[in-house]
């Protein structure tokens, strides 16, 4: 649409050039308002604000098509007209103004609604609003009808005229494109979500298959040697079976922790004792890989409020990772505790002198099913650890230098955050 075609005789008290300039400003502001977001409800809300403003109208509503039922449904109603219309649905036929516009895909300019046979005054009776003049336009983007926009009553009390209709058509065009973009965006987000679910399942399947390989290997070795009495080999096979059962139980626990939003069950407990427990638990695993596992615990630190089971799970994952990172490196892993400067938070640092993490990988380590450990990793340990710490209103950070080692730092409040309640 050109500025020239906007010039209509309607508002004859304004000079034509000024009218054109105003129209262009209105269209600019509408396009800015609807371009600000891609979220559909926000697009609809700002579109209605923009349209009511642009047209100096008392009320505006957008009705979107439901192609399954051949109906229009009100989305959001803006202006002096009250809320109850939210659930109203209209048939797409010639028995209502909006229905007619959707049916014929043509705009209507109605100077006095009460003199139009398609007008249904029951909405006015319900809401106490008095409809006078109506502009109703189809919303069409890329040839696809999306619904209808209704603009009610000029604020100056005069009926809408042809120049209003022409401006409204431009406004409706912008709004239709914004709704179309929002719908496409929604579809894209949904598709991405499905792809992510697919990748997650593939990651899980891969991980479980590796465990299955270990279990089958163990059983095969036991089978092969149980008759001949090769006891040492039977023991090796049995060790494989036990190790892989442990892995399976770990991945199930991690999957459960990762899959649901969980509020920590706070209890006061000793941070240093918790660290000692975890170190004792993983000592055998560390010894088996020739890794020295030690603690460096702060005497300043006593009790803190936390979900002990969850933090333990997190520490097991971090220390287990550190041990793996050190394998074959004359490794050492230290679990250190301390207080922050203002003493309202405590820290647990899991430090290793292992292989370190490349900067490019560092960004990805908290993504589920990203594992740098080949078939050994589940790819869930770190996402779970991070989730647990964040559920405690804490921070999990990492620093690493390839070839020198890695440090994971947990920082947690000593007291439970206020919004968790007492």
């Amino acid at each position: 649409m050109t500025a020239k075609s906007l010039r209509q005789p309607g508002h004859s008290d304004e000079p034509a050039a000024q009218q054109d300039r105003q129209a262009i400003e209105v269209l600019l502001s509408v396009s800015q308002m609807v371009a600000g977001t891609l979220e559909r409800d926000a697009v609809l809300a700002s579109a209605m604000d923009a349209a009511a403003d642009a047209m100096s109208a008392q009320a505006c509503s957008i009705l979107l098509r439901d192609d399954d039922t051949n109906e229009l449904c009100f989305h959001i109603v803006k202006g002096d007209r009250a809320e109850p219309l939210g659930s109203v649905r209209l048939k797409i036929d010639d028995n209502s103004i909006a229905g007619w516009v959707a049916n014929h895909e043509q705009s209507l300019l109605i100077a006095d609604a009460y003199r139009d046979s398609r007008f249904n005054p029951s909405y006015d009776r319900e809401t106490g609003f008095r409809t006078k003049s109506v502009l109703c336009l189809p919303l069409v983007a890329k040839g696809k009808p999306l619904g209808v926009i209704q603009i009610l009553n000029r604020r100056d009390g005069k009926p809408f005229d042809e120049s209003d209709l022409e401006l409204a058509e431009a406004v409706a065009g912008l709004i239709a494109v914004a709704i179309h973009n929002a719908a496409e965006h929604e579809a894209r987000v949904a598709a991405e979500r499905i792809a992510t679910v697919g990748q997650t399942i593939a990651g899980m399947a891969h991980c479980i298959k590796n465990i299955l390989n270990g279990l089958q290997g163990g059983s095969y070795i036991i089978d092969q040697n149980i008759e001949g009495g090769g006891l040492a080999k039977v023991k090796r096979g049995w060790g494989m079976v036990k190790r892989n059962m442990g892995l399976l139980s770990n991945i199930v626990l991690d999957m459960l922790s990762y899959s649901k939003e969980r509020k920590p069950v706070y209890k006061s407990c000793s941070v240093n004792d918790l660290c000692r427990d975890v170190v004792t638990l993983l000592k055998e695993q560390a010894d088996g890989k020739g890794v020295l596992l030690t603690t460096d615990l702060s005497g300043e630190l006593s009790e803190a409020e936390m979900d002990e089971t969850a933090i333990k799970r997190c520490l097991i994952n971090l220390v287990g990772n550190a041990i793996d990172a050190c394998e074959g490196h004359k490794g050492a892993v230290t679990v250190e505790t301390g207080l922050t400067k203002d003493a309202d938070r405590f820290t647990i640092c899991v430090r290793d002198n292992g292989s370190g993490i490349e900067p490019a990988q560092l960004e990805k380590i908290f993504n589920p099913f990203f594992s740098s450990k080949g078939s050994k990793g589940t790819g869930l340990g770190l996402p779970v650890a991070k989730k647990i710490i964040e559920e405690h209103a804490g921070v999990l950070s990492v620093t690493s230098a390839p070839g020198e080692g890695t440090a994971f730092l947990i920082e947690l409040p000593i007291r439970r955050p206020d919004d968790e309640g007492e």
């Binding site: 990748q199 593939a202 990651g203 399947a205 891969h206 298959k209 590796n210 299955l212 390989n213 270990g214 279990l215 089958q216 290997g217 163990g218 095969y220 070795i221 092969q224 080999k233 090796r236 494989m240 190790r243 892989n244 740098s372 450990k373 080949g374 078939s375 050994k376």
Partner: protein
């Protein structure tokens, strides 16, 4: 006795393949990553390499690519161990690999390994039926 090199980052998986091969009179060497594997190939001169695809640092395909490039190693029989990611088409397609490296591994075996099926693949690949 024919010599085999088993390359996998996971000790349990190496142990499993070793047990299957030893029951079929193979002499087995192991390597825990791609670099160690390439060093051992030169030293051991194996008749067969069982190569895991997914390993940290140098993966199975990188190792295979280097074996193919060298006239000393290009004729060694290679069985690739693949995971479910490959099967789901996320990792690679065998045709792409063949085109990319100019040669495909002699066989693919999917984990978890079925010992009897694996033995048959080894016999077929090495012509020891």
């Amino acid at each position: 006795m024919a010599k085999a090199l088993v390359v996998d980052d996971e000790a349990d998986a190496r142990e499993f393949v070793r047990a299957i091969l030893e029951s079929g009179d193979w002499e087995v060497e192991e390597a825990e990553d791609g670099d160690v594997a390439l060093a051992k190939v030169a030293e051991v001169k194996p008749d067969l390499i069982v190569l895991d695809v997914q390993m940290p640092r140098k993966d199975g395909f990188a190792v295979f690519g280097e074996l193919v490039k060298s006239p000393d190693t290009k004729d060694i029989k290679v069985i690739m161990l693949t995971g479910v990611q490959q099967k789901m088409g996320i990792g690679f397609s065998a045709d792409d690999m063949g085109e990319y490296l100019g040669k495909e591994p002699d066989a693919y075996v999917e984990k978890p390994i079925d010992p009897e099926a694996f033995k048959r693949v080894v016999q077929k690949v090495t012509g020891t039926e």
